[in-house]
């Protein structure tokens, strides 16, 4: 494996979709021996680039060069044959098969037409040994931990002896200790001359793994810098561009009576000793990098997952959240991160979904009729400007933004005090986003408080009265949007 280092280039790579340009003439240059981090916020063009290099998306124009030779491919299989291997965020191993079978799936060695198990075992052993992995090829993949499976995934990619190894958010599911093992393996591979492209959301880890960082914004390559220069302020400037200052500094802090007080809320390592008070009509933002415990905290407060310690005082009563039904009754409700799978019931109608939370406990309303439900649904559909072709049609037919509004409508029908919103604007278009902001502000004016979790810091700066920063499960700071810059907020998130 001690061959001269590989090289990898893209020359004016461009991808146009009807109406938008996802990638604008990106020219990247990477050399083996170094690990390149690829950064950018959602929608910056990272996934398009990963798609093109992995063979899943065809570029509109531009060239990819591996070791100086132009290559083109039409499928993931062909990309692999041309020397580019991708390890995706979702693991693709089959849990019931052995590690060796997984690595050589579809191309197991044969002898006289039958699978040569001994040969396969030897090949796997050699490969794992070369990569310095202490994994037994005979063990079933499902028995390995997440990190172990991630390693096998990389071994599988490396079994094709690629020039370029691309990793798409490989650590998103890994614990801190496990990422260290992954990084060691990547450093060894880099030392062997493989080009490593490392795509990540977790800004804080690039200093531990990468040698250089390239930043994409709006489909363009903003630049590439050595990692030593990549301070949070520099990276934020590259990722977000020159942001106009906050237009209206309407940080009129609602100082009504407290509606909910969270005290010492803790769950293992996910979040620890979180305390805050939310006032009537207040919009509280929660910022933090992926894995900081934001989702876990909201689910804990809603009683969707158990917590270890701490309490919540709501409506003058101190309780330990133990079920969504209980918290709903107290007026604390959650619009979950995965609205499709957890917020709504896709096969049921929009009418029933909007009434969903009002149905239980039945003592609230024993009798219900379609006509009455239709009236309730229509009120929200008109009030929130929802695009619904038919109230009695399945909710699955609605756009992401409209579905998010349906989730909020579902909760408003129960008369909540506090709305917990987990990434309410993820994956929805800019118009719907602004409408969601408008809804949250309207509710605030009506006295309903919100906790707003988002990965998009600009959003938090725009809607929230106050922002808490969560880092490794603890509150690392509190920020007032009017008095803080985006760069310093990002700085607090990453530190």
């Amino acid at each position: 494996m001690e061959s001269p280092p590989h090289t990898f280039e893209t020359d004016r790579l461009r991808k146009e979709y009807p109406g938008t340009i996802a990638l604008r003439d990106v020219s990247l240059r990477c050399a083996g021996g170094k690990i390149r981090a690829l950064l950018g916020k959602n929608g910056a063009g990272k996934s398009t680039l990963v798609g093109i290099l992995g063979g899943a998306v065809r570029p509109t124009s531009g060239t990819v060069l591996v070791d100086g030779v132009p290559v083109s491919f039409r499928s993931p299989r062909e990309a692999l044959d041309r020397g580019i291997a991708t390890v995706h965020q979702e693991l693709s191993l089959i849990p019931g098969l052995s590690v060796a079978e997984n690595i050589f799936l579809g191309r197991l060695p044969r002898r006289r037409g039958l699978i040569d198990w001994r040969g396969a075992g030897r090949m796997a052993e050699n490969l794992l040994g070369e990569l310095g992995l202490e994994i037994d090829g005979r063990v079933t993949a499902g028995k390995l931990g997440l990190a172990g499976r991630q390693m096998v995934e990389i071994a599988k990619a490396m079994s094709h002896a690629p020039a370029v190894l691309m990793l798409d958010e490989p650590t998103s599911a890994l614990a801190l200790r496990e990422t260290e093992r992954l990084f060691e393996l990547l450093r060894r591979l880099a030392a062997q001359g493989v080009v490593i492209l490392y795509i990540t959301h977790r800004l804080e880890e690039i200093h531990r793994i990468a040698d250089e960082a390239s930043v994409l914004r709006n489909g363009e390559l903003v630049g590439t810098i050595p990692i030593a220069e990549a301070t949070p302020v520099v990276i934020a400037g590259m990722m977000f561009g020159d942001l106009p200052g906050r237009a209206e500094a309407e940080t009129v802090h609602p100082s009504g009576p407290p509606v909910i007080t969270v005290n010492g809320f803790t769950r293992g390592e996910a979040y620890r000793d979180v305390s805050f008070t939310l006032h009537r009509g207040e919009i509280l933002g929660i910022a933090g990098v992926l894995g900081a415990g934001r989702t876990e905290l909201l689910r804990g407060l809603f009683g969707a997952d158990p917590h270890d310690a701490g309490s919540v005082t709501v409506g003058g009563r101190e309780v330990a959240p133990s079920s969504p039904a209980q918290m709903k009754k107290l007026g604390v409700v959650l619009a979950p991160e995965d609205r499709k799978a957890e917020g709504l019931i896709q096969i049921l109608s929009t009418r029933i979904n909007i009434n969903l939370a009002g149905f239980w406990p039945p003592s609230l309303r024993w009798i219900t009729t379609a006509a009455r439900e239709r009236a309730v649904a229509s009120r929200y559909i008109a009030g929130m400007d929802m695009a619904v072709p038919s109230v009695d049609g399945p909710v699955s037919a609605l756009s992401g933004g409209t579905q998010q509004k349906a989730v909020i409508a579902k909760w408003l029908e129960t008369g909540p005090q506090v709305l917990l919103l987990d990434e309410p604007t993820r994956g929805i278009d800019i118009r719907a986003k602004q409408q969601i902001f408008g809804i949250v502000r309207d509710l605030s004016a009506r006295g309903i408080a919100s906790v707003f979790v988002s990965s998009e810091l600009e959003e938090l700066m725009e809607v929230c009265h106050r922002i808490l920063v969560l880092r490794k499960g603890r509150i690392a700071g509190e920020v007032s949007p009017g008095a803080t810059s985006l760069e310093s907020l990002l700085g607090i998130c990453m530190e």
Binding site: F302, A304, S323, P324, A325, M327, K328, K329, V333, L334, P336, A341, E342, G343, L344, I345, Q346, I347, L348, I352, N355, L356, A357, G358, F359, W360, P361, P362, L364, R365, W366, I367, T368, T369, A370, K410, T414
Partner: protein, 321 residues
């Protein structure tokens, strides 16, 4: 035209059933007589009663395989308790004994379904597994109670429940129609009904909407098991004995009727009215073939084919939508 079209596609099963009835009316002169039609209703009422509950269970994303055994067990338990309390004696004592026996049987049914629901909620045991175990266990328990011989402690008037007539209508059929109306209202006009659809459609989303998923599961399973026990009481009254070997394989007939009625085994989709049509459909086919002197072996083959056909039609109709 469009309205006719939509009516056609929404009522495929009803139309097939009507066609079948017209055919039988022409082919078998007796078919349309009031006596025969009431007979059909009577024949389907005991399985139909269970099918109503099974519809709820399947919509909620669960299944109950133990209903056939529950019918036999409940009949035997009723006979045993009635006998032990002196049901064959004279006077009001017998009435009390029979009433107490019925109550015990219904409670046993309720407890059995609730237990399956609790296992599902607390330990994640699929209802398919727990009710499969109950299928065997209850069947064995029925044999244990009766020692292998039919128990016959019932006073003659007991026959009314399963074999009597009220206003010229078979009593079990009357119970079935009443239960149908109640379940139909429950599923279409109450919050509980909506919650059943929600739990079967996506249990996690239902939980995160503050719906008590565990309570819904326990309720539908307990209800169905109680209806099976009630059916067992009616059965024991019809044959005037507690017999451990009755109602073998009923669970499959019941599930077939529910599926024919358009309820999806995947949960979240289905109608009580559809089950009613499915139950009657199966009853009419059996009755028609008997009237036409089709051999019993052929009856089974034809019925199997028709079940498949009805489900296929349902599928195609849904795909068009």
């Amino acid at each position: 035209m469009k309205r006719i079209r939509s009516l056609l596609s929404h009522a495929v099963l009803e139309i097939i059933l009507a066609g079948l009835c017209i055919f039988l009316a022409a082919a078998a002169p007796n078919f349309l007589s009031a006596g025969n039609l009431l007979n059909v209703l009577r024949n389907v009422s005991m399985q139909g009663l269970i099918a109503l509950g099974m519809t709820l269970v399947i919509i909620a994303g669960e299944i109950d395989l133990s209903v056939g055994s529950m019918v036999a067990f409940s009949g035997c338990l009723t006979a045993y308790v009635a006998g032990a309390l002196g049901a064959s004696g004279p006077g009001p004592g017998a009435v009390i004994a029979v009433a107490a026996a019925i109550l015990v049987a219904l409670l046993a049914g309720f407890a059995s379904g609730a237990a399956a629901g609790a296992l599902r909620n607390r330990f994640g045991v699929p209802s398919f597994i727990s009710t499969l175990a109950l299928l065997t266990a209850l069947s064995g328990a029925a044999e244990l109670i009766t020692n292998g011989f039919p128990l016959t402690p019932f006073p003659p008037w007991y026959n009314f429940i399963g074999g009597g007539y009220l206003f010229g209508i078979p009593f079990p059929a009357l119970l079935f129609v009443l239960a149908f109306a109640a379940t139909h209202l429950l599923m279409n006009y109450t919050s509980f009904g909506r919650a059943v659809y929600a739990v079967g459609g996506n249990a996690e989303a239902a939980r995160l909407s503050g719906i008590n998923v565990s309570a819904v599961r326990v309720t539908v399973l307990a209800l169905t098991s109680t209806l099976a026990a009630a059916s067992g009481v009616m059965q024991s009254s019809e044959i005037m004995s507690g017999t451990a070997t009755t109602a073998k394989g009923w669970e499959l007939d019941v599930i077939a009727a529910v599926i024919i009625g358009g309820t999806s085994l995947a949960g979240g989709v289905g109608r009580v009215w559809g089950t009613m049509v499915g139950v009657v459909f199966l009853g009419v086919i059996m009755n028609g073939m008997t009237l036409l002197n089709v051999s019993e072996y052929w009856q089974h083959v034809v019925r199997g084919g028709l079940i498949l056909l009805a489900v296929l039609i349902n599928r195609m109709e849904r795909r068009e939508k």
